[in-house]
Amino acid sequence: MADAKALGTLPRLPLAALITASALAVAPHALWLSPWFDVPAAALLAWCAANAIRGGSSPPPRWTLVALTLASTLGVFVFYHTILGRDAGVTLLLMLLFLKLLETRAPRDVFVVAFLVYFVALANFFFSQSIPIAGLMLVTVVVTTTALVGFSAPVRPIEENLKTAARMLAQAGPVMLLLFFLFPRVQGPLWGVPQDAYTGVTGLSETMKPGELNALALSDAIAFRVKFQTASPPRNRLYWRGPVMTDFDGQTWRVGLPQLRREMSIEASGPPIDYEVTLEPHNRNWMFALEMPVRLPEAARLTSEYLVISLAPIRSRIRYEMRSSPVFLARSGGNQRDLALALRLPPDVDPRARALARGWRESLRDDAAIVTRAVDFFRGNRFEYTLEPPKLGANSVDEFLFDTRQGFCEHFASSFVFLMRAAGVPARVVTGYQGGDTNPVDGYMVIRQADAHAWAEVWLEGSGWTRVDPTAAAIPIRVELGVTAAAPTEVPLLMRSGLDWLKGLRNNWDALTNQWNQWVLGYNPDRQREMLSRLGMKQPSWETMTLVLFWSVGSVLLLVALWLLRGMRREDPIQRAWLRFCDKLARAGLSRASAEGPLDYAGRVARRLPARENEVRAITALYVDQRYGPVADLESLARLKSLVRDFAP
């Protein structure tokens, strides 16, 4: 019953604001949590709102809340098979927020709800840290703050509370910026993160099954961005090397175990290309570089397959400097074992392709000639490039080469490598990205998931691993102009050429996003050290950073305090001069009694200090005139001030 009584004390409008804030914080979660939870969540939120509108006249009984809590926990457990993972945890957090909203009765509950809203807002960033989500969460914080102001000043109109909240957040802004840039950053994780923390990131995978990559090809998500320090090479030379696939079981290509070797070498010739890559997290170790990388970033290694890998999976956006040489000889990674692996084929599949390759081997002795012949085969037959190829059966290579002849880079690369191996030429599939669009707004080249590509590499005596792109042979336009031109109607809307205004809009948005990524999302311990040393802090240590942080935040707060207290009326100058006079006398043991008027006081002082009588009388007369007389003039004030200044009892 005490609850019911307290219920009436919660003001209605702030409560509505709090529910709005909850809805705003929760809304984006509908995008990434299972739709199974959307419906109960929406229902709960509606219930909260209805409860609040009715003035909470009938709060749900305790047992309902207990039952709901149990039901939602059980639901999460059944769905995720755990209650500890990231998604399960976030879902539980949402349920907790709704249930708390339902039983909000006392001012104490209000704070719990507000803090839960902050947590839910933070949880959004697990899934997306884009500008729109950031904007939405800022709105959420403003609304929550407005609600808190409303609860502490219930009779104030809500617009005023909104203004106060906005003003306070504006003042918190500089503090936030300083903390963001100067707070000593630690590279996470602090402990093992749940297994499912990085699901949902897109990118190339460790396997390639012709027909699978096209899901990636339909995504316009950004894989990485590149800033060229030197002139960028032509589009058909832009091969961004990714995982190399050597194992084939007839259906699927797989990457081998990465091997680090000491004697890896690349014989580069021609001018090198310097560039900086900003790689989106993809939860794998590989880092992309133009073929072939000749200088690696510090924390990276080169595998025996000329793949640049980082030592830990890339789980946050990273930036690295690279140098590549477009003209090269890659003669490492070709010992007997490597070559044997690059010749293995599954038995008993694709007889027609094997027969074709055997024919080439019999007529041509030279590996290079066989390669040329195979490329001619792809060029001469009418292959069609499509992102929606027909399904292939058990003999996928045969069916593609002789029957359907419709496919995209994976089909081409896969069947080409099959033919090479069948003909006795060591070959492997290289996946990665091909092409990239330069954003005219900021000059960054953007490589999207849709630019994913697969090509082949053959081992030739003398020149080592040599790139052969059967797709380029069959469908040159794919490499010259990109996937957009090769399959115009199938690519994502935003990537189609022809819609110029849309492209301009997208370029601007991309440039903005890039800045956002570089400065906000990509701000990590390395970047912090770099920025601080550019600001003149040599060897920024933990201690100096804390010290700088302390003083800078302190001075910002001082400025805010001065700004806030500027409207304070100070004692008027006449009174100040008089008080100073009284202080001087008090130090001489003649303090004014609290009930003593100025004239009485002056009389008493004059009797005790006959030598100073004239000054005391003059000061008092001036003070009384100024303070109680009809007009106060500046001249008399100046005289009073100087008299008081010179006065010594």
Partner: protein, 322 residues
């Protein structure tokens, strides 16, 4: 064990003394300087801080840049709210307002005046004095009179205890407070008793014999109005005709001399019971427009009537020391 207690008590006493000395009743206008406004986080402020630490750990663990942004923004908000809360209370002028006399057991309404000479409004100031609580806001360049209802128990002067003025505006995360003790006291009259006894008859030893004095029964004539005359005895019609106000004079038995005498009360009655009885008689006599006086040991209120006379009598009763 005992020694501990004594020490504890003495320390508490010292502390009390210290606080009391700093906040002894202050005459005139009290200015809330920076130095006398204290500020500390509330319980919710502490849990806000704990939440922020959790959010920071989460942001570090998952490398959430926007998590840092959110956490630091909220941290900035928390720090800024210290300034706002402090500003909401500091530099106010507090002075004593009026307080009307009440009867013991009733609620004395202490009026406290808040003056705000700054350019911004003050919100949600909470006043507490013992169990008494009230709240108010003060507009910019304005003042607000707040009534603090204090329950009275004993007759006599009731000095206003130290008042805690606090505010949690704007976020409720911080609490700024200050102590003020405006020098104001309420006069508490003895509670009139409820015994079903009539007003005593006129003195037996004077009685009818002296029937020349002024009374209320029979109209005797008119005389010029004096400040102490009851308004109900003003002869309005006659006054309208003449230049000045005139008062009607009455003669009668009851008017003779209605003395409420401490000594006449039964000897068994305690001091407070006597005072209560006398208070009731004063009220009844005034209600009926009678002419009455009060005799206490050491104090006598001469015969009279009207509101000031009643107040005079009640004040004597309130401040009576046996």
């Amino acid at each position: 064990m005992k020694l501990d207690r004594v020490l504890q008590y003495s320390q508490a006493y010292n502390f009390y003394q210290w606080v009391f000395k700093r906040h002894a009743p202050e005459p005139g206008v009290v200015f809330l300087t920076q130095r006398r406004v204290y500020i500390l986080p509330t319980r919710h402020g502490l849990s806000f801080g704990a939440s922020l630490i959790l959010m920071l750990i989460g942001s570090i663990n998952y490398n959430l840049s926007l998590g840092y942004v959110l956490t630091f923004l909220l941290a900035g908000l928390g720090v800024v709210s210290i300034l706002h809360t402090f500003r909401n209370l500091v530099h106010l002028y507090v002075s004593a307002g009026r307080v009307a006399p009440v009867f013991a057991g009733d609620v004395a309404q202490f009026q406290i005046v808040f003056e705000n000479r700054s350019d911004f409004e003050r919100h949600s100031l909470e006043l507490a004095c013992g169990p008494a609580r009230t709240s108010c806001g003060v507009p910019a360049h304005g003042h607000r009179v707040v009534v603090l209802p204090v329950k009275t128990v004993k007759r006599g002067w009731l000095q206003l205890e130290r008042v805690t003025v606090d505010t949690r505006f704007p976020l409720g995360l911080m609490r700024a407070w200050s102590y003020v003790q405006p020098d104001m006291r309420a006069l508490v009259y003895p509670r009139p008793d409820t015994a079903p006894l009539p007003v005593p008859e006129a003195d037996s030893d004077t009685g009818d014999a002296v029937s020349t004095g002024a009374g209320t029964d029979d109209f005797m004539g008119l005389r010029p109005y004096q400040a102490s005359d009851s308004p109900r005895h003003v002869a309005w019609k006659a006054s309208a005709r003449s230049e000045a106000l005139l008062t009607k004079l009455f003669a009668g038995r009851a008017a003779s001399e209605l003395w409420f005498d401490w000594e006449r009360l039964p000897a068994a009655m305690t001091t407070e019971a006597r005072l209560s009885r006398l208070a009731r008689w004063v009220l009844l006599a005034e209600e009926r427009g009678l002419h009455y006086g009060l005799r206490l040991p050491g104090a006598t209120v001469p015969l009279g009537e009207g509101f000031p006379h009643r107040e005079h009598c009640l004040k004597e009763l309130a401040l009576f020391r046996g």
